[in-house]
C-alpha cells in the first residue's frame, strides 16, 4: 500500500507543479496578452483572423457566443461523420478499412465532438489513420478548446460589471488551441514516443510467429486525448495497450496530463478573479473528494477478487507480484496504478483506461461510476469540470444565503432567480438523462440482451454506460455490447444533452452575470475562499450526488458487493 501512496503523491505533486505556472499562463492567453509563444504562433493567429474576417477583441453577447460554439461543434460532428463514411476512398488507409455503419458513425461523431470519446468500435479494426487524425485528433483538440472557452466566458461574466459581452468565441477557440493545447500536446507526444508509444504511418507488421501488430500515428493522438480529457483510445484497449502506454513513466505522463489543465484552470480562475484564494478554495474542494475516492478504490482493488476465494490463487500484494484484483489489468501498472488511473479518469471527464472497470470489484467500480455521476466536477473535464463546480458554488452560496436570509452573492455578483434556474437546469438535465436512459434501457429487451455479466452487475453495466455518455466521460463497463442502434443513437442523444444542456445554461448565466453591477462585500456576505465554504461546496456536491443516485447504486454495485462478500 505504501507503494501505491508514494505513486499517488508523486502524481499530485507533479500536477500542482504544472498547474501553478500553467494557470496564470492560460489566463494571460485568454486575455489576449502576448506570451513567449507569440513570435512563432502569433502570425498563425492573425492569419486565421484575417481569413475569418474578424477582430480578436470584438465582444460577443452570450447568445452570439453560444451560437458560435454550437456552429463550430456542428461542423465537427458533420466532419467526423463524413470522414468515417468516406474513409474507404481516402488516403492513409493502409489496412483498407471500409466505411463505417451509419449509427456507429453518428455515435462516434457526437462522442468525439462532445469531449466524451465513448467508443462503440475498436480503433485498430475500424478506422483508417486519416479518420483517426483528421477526424478524431482534431476533435480531441477542438472539444477541449470548447470546454475551456466556456468556463473562461463564465469567469468573465462573474468579473465584468454592467457589460454586454463575454468575450469573442472565435478568438478564444483559436488562442486556446494554438497557445495552450498544441504546444503541450507536442511535448507530451514526444515524451510518450520516447517510452515506446507508436508514431508511424506504416502499415501493420507481421512477425515470424504470424502475429499481426497494428500500427499507426498513435502518440500525437494519445497526447491530446489525455491533455484534453478526451480519453478515446487509438486502439481498442485504450491506454492499457502497450503501444499507447508502454511504461510506468508513460503512465505517469498520462495521468498528470489528465489533471494538468483542470487544475490549472482553477488557478486561472483565481488569477482572473484577482483573488487567488478563490481558485485555491475550489481546488481544495476538488482535492478533498479526490483523495477520499482514491482511498476507497485503491483499498478495494488491492484486496483482490473475493469471488476467487477458495481457489489456489495468491492475490497478495508483495514485491514479487503486484497482486490484487488482476483481471483486466496489466502487470506493468498493477492494481495500484489501475486504481489511481481509474479515479483520475472518472474524476476528470477523460475516460481513458488502463484497466477494464467492468472487472473491478463492486466497490472499486462504484467509485468511478459515482464520480462521473457527481458531474465530473472533481477537477473534471477541461473547462467542464470548473464550470460544473462553479454551478455547485452558486448553489452553495444560494443555500448559504437562505440560511442567513440574505440575497446570495458570488464574487460580488448577486445570484438571483435566473441564475438559480439555469444552474438547476444544468445540474438536473444530465441526472434525468442518466436515470431515464437507464430505466428505458432495462425495459427494452434488445438493450438488455447487450448485457454480458449476470446479476446486479448487469444493471451496473447499463447505468455506467448512461452515466459515462451523459457526463461526457467515455469510459465503459466494456462487456456491454453497445454497437447496436439503440445504444448508438440513445447514448449519442445523452452525450448531446450532457454537453450542450450544460454549456447553454452556463453561457446564459455568464451573460446575465456580466450585465450586473458589482455589489460590495458586507457583513452578510458568505466569504467564498474559506475552509467553511470548501466544506459547503463538498457538501453540496456529495449531497446532490447521493440523493440523486443512491437508489440506482443500491440496485447495482452495492447489491453486488453484498452478494460477493
Amino acid at each position: 500500500m505504501t507503494h501505491a501512496w508514494i505513486q499517488s503523491f508523486i502524481f499530485l505533486g507533479l500536477v500542482l507543479a504544472i498547474a501553478v505556472p500553467l494557470g496564470p499562463f492560460i489566463a494571460k492567453v485568454l486575455a489576449g496578452e502576448r506570451t513567449f509563444l507569440h513570435p512563432v504562433l502569433g502570425p498563425v493567429e492573425r492569419g486565421l483572423y484575417r481569413l475569418m474576417g474578424i477582430r480578436g477583441d470584438e465582444d460577443m453577447g452570450w447568445k452570439a457566443y453560444a451560437w458560435a460554439i454550437a456552429a463550430f461543434n456542428l461542423l465537427g460532428i458533420a466532419a467526423v461523420f463524413l470522414l468515417q463514411k468516406a474513409q474507404g476512398a481516402l488516403p492513409l488507409n493502409p489496412e483498407g478499412m471500409g466505411k463505417v455503419a451509419t449509427d456507429l458513425s453518428f455515435n462516434t461523431a457526437v462522442s468525439f465532438t462532445t469531449n466524451t470519446n465513448w467508443q462503440a468500435y475498436g480503433g485498430e479494426s475500424t478506422l483508417s489513420y486519416l479518420t483517426q487524425m483528421l477526424g478524431l485528433t482534431v476533435q480531441n483538440f477542438l472539444s477541449a478548446a470548447t470546454g475551456i472557452v466556456v468556463v473562461v466566458a463564465l469567469i468573465r461574466g462573474l468579473m465584468r460589471r454592467s457589460a454586454l459581452g463575454i468575450g469573442n468565441a472565435w478568438a478564444d477557440l483559436v488562442r486556446t488551441t494554438l497557445y495552450v493545447l498544441l504546444p503541450l500536446s507536442a511535448i507530451i507526444a514526444l515524451l510518450l514516443v520516447s517510452q515506446g508509444t507508436l508514431q508511424t504511418f506504416a502499415a501493420s507488421v507481421k512477425t515470424t510467429s504470424g502475429q499481426v501488430l497494428a500500427m499507426g500515428p498513435a502518440a500525437s493522438q494519445v497526447a491530446i486525448k489525455m491533455l484534453g480529457t478526451n480519453g478515446g483510445g487509438f486502439f481498442n484497449a485504450n491506454s492499457a495497450h502497450p503501444f499507447e502506454n508502454p511504461t510506468g513513466l508513460s503512465n505517469l505522463i498520462h495521468m498528470v496530463a489528465i489533471f494538468s489543465i483542470p487544475a490549472a484552470l482553477c488557478l486561472a480562475f483565481g488569477t482572473m478573479a484577482k483573488d487567488r484564494r478563490q481558485g485555491w478554495a475550489v481546488m481544495a474542494a476538488m482535492a478533498v473528494i479526490f483523495v477520499a475516492a482514491l482511498s476507497v478504490t485503491t483499498w478495494a482493488e488491492a484486496k483482490g477478487n473475493p469471488g476467487l476465494k477458495g481457489l489456489p490463487v495468491n492475490q497478495m500484494v508483495s514485491t514479487e507480484q503486484g497482486g490484487g484484483n488482476m483481471e483486466g489489468k496489466e502487470v506493468r501498472f498493477g492494481a495500484a496504478n489501475a486504481s489511481l488511473f481509474a479515479t483520475i479518469t472518472t474524476s476528470a471527464s477523460c475516460g481513458a483506461v488502463i484497466a477494464w472497470h467492468d472487472s473491478f470489484t463492486p466497490l472499486g467500480g462504484l467509485v468511478p461510476l459515482w464520480l462521473m455521476q457527481l458531474g465530473e466536477v472533481v477537477f473534471g473535464g477541461v473547462g467542464s469540470g470548473l464550470y460544473g463546480m462553479l454551478l455547485f458554488a452558486l448553489v452553495g452560496v444560494f443555500i448559504g444565503g437562505l440560511m442567513v436570509g440574505r440575497t446570495p452573492e458570488y464574487l460580488g455578483k448577486k445570484i438571483e432567480a435566473f441564475e438559480m434556474k439555469m444552474a438547476s437546469i444544468a445540474i438536473l438535465l444530465p441526472s434525468a438523462a442518466i436515470l431515464i436512459g437507464t430505466a428505458v434501457a432495462v425495459l427494452h429487451a434488445p438493450a438488455v440482451a447487450s448485457i454480458s455479466n449476470p446479476g446486479p452487475h448487469g444493471f451496473t453495466q447499463v447505468l455506467y454506460a448512461f452515466s459515462s455518455a451523459t457526463q461526457n466521460n467515455g469510459s465503459a463497463f466494456g462487456g456491454l455490447s453497445v454497437n447496436t442502434p439503440f445504444y448508438n443513437y440513445g447514448l449519442a442523444l445523452c452525450m448531446l444533452v450532457g454537453r450542450f444542456g450544460v454549456i447553454l445554461p452556463v453561457l446564459a448565466i455568464a451573460g446575465s452575470l456580466a450585465r450586473k453591477k458589482y455589489t460590495p462585500e458586507s457583513v452578510g456576505t458568505l466569504p467564498t475562499h474559506t475552509p467553511l465554504f470548501v466544506g459547503v461546496l463538498v457538501g453540496v456536491v456529495l449531497l446532490i450526488g447521493a440523493l440523486t443516485y443512491l437508489p440506482a447504486l443500491a440496485l447495482g454495485p452495492l447489491a453486488e458487493h453484498l452478494t460477493l462478500r
Binding site: H3, F72, L198, F243, E327, V331, D358, S452, N453, P454
Partner: protein, 195 residues
C-alpha cells in the same frame, strides 16, 4: 441574426489542418529522427525478420517456454486468437461472474497439468486475463512459479533458468513507477539461445 458562417468555416478548417495534419506530421517527423526505434513499435529483428515487439506479448503454451498472461483477444472471425495484435481487448468479466471463476479454474488446471509437481498457490496474474490481451509481462512471482517446469522440459538446471529470469526482471521504473515485471517474449528468446 448573424450566422457567423465565414468565421465558423474558416476556424474549423484552419484548425483542422493545423491539428489534424500539420501536428501529427510534425510529431511523426520528429519521432523518426529522435526515437526511430520506439516510434515504429520497438521491434525485435533478426536477420531482417521481425520476431515481435518487445512491448507486445506473444502466445506460449508449451512446457519449455514461459507462459504469459491469459489473453482473451479474438480474431477477425470472432473466434479466440490469443495475443492478436490487431484486435486488443480484455474479458470484461465481473468479479461476480461465474464464468470468470470457471475460466480461472481452467487456467489453474492447465498449469497444474503442465507441472503436477508444482502445487503452491498460483500468482494471480498468471490466471487472470490482461486488459490489452497483449500484456508483455508477468510478475517475478509468476515467472518463479514456472521455473521448475521450464527447467525440466529443457533439461536445464533450475539455477540456470532462474538466473535468466533474474536477468529479465525489471523493478518498478525509477524504483517507484508501476510494478516489477518479467518480459516473457525476451525471456523466451533468451532461453532458446541458451544451451
Amino acid at each position: 441574426m448573424n450566422l457567423q458562417l465565414r468565421p465558423a468555416l474558416v476556424a474549423f478548417l484552419g484548425l483542422t489542418v493545423i491539428t489534424g495534419l500539420a501536428y501529427p506530421a510534425l510529431i511523426t517527423g520528429l519521432s523518426k529522427v529522435i526515437f526511430p526505434r520506439q516510434a515504429e513499435g520497438s521491434l525485435i529483428r533478426k536477420e531482417g525478420n521481425v520476431l515481435g515487439s518487445e512491448l507486445i506479448g506473444q502466445s506460449f503454451t508449451d512446457a519449455a517456454h514461459f507462459w504469459g498472461r491469459p489473453s482473451v483477444t479474438v480474431g477477425p472471425d470472432g473466434k479466440p486468437l490469443p495475443y492478436n495484435g490487431a484486435n486488443s481487448g480484455g474479458s470484461n468479466q465481473a468479479p461476480s461472474n461465474p464464468a470468470l471463476k470457471q475460466a480461472v479454474e481452467e487456467r489453474i488446471a492447465a498449469l497444474r497439468a503442465a507441472d503436477p509437481e508444482q502445487q503452491g498457490p498460483i500468482p494471480v496474474d498468471l490466471v487472470t486475463a490482461s486488459a490489452s490481451g497483449l500484456d508483455p509481462h508477468i510478475s517475478p512471482a509468476a515467472a518463479e512459479y514456472q521455473v521448475h517446469r521450464v527447467a525440466k522440459a529443457r533439461n536445464l538446471p533450475e539455477a540456470q533458468v532462474r538466473d535468466l529470469v533474474r536477468q529479465h526482471t525489471e523493478g518498478p521504473q525509477f524504483g517507484v513507477l508501476g510494478d516489477a515485471t518479467v518480459n516473457v517474449l525476451k525471456l523466451n528468446l533468451a532461453l532458446d539461445q541458451a544451451k
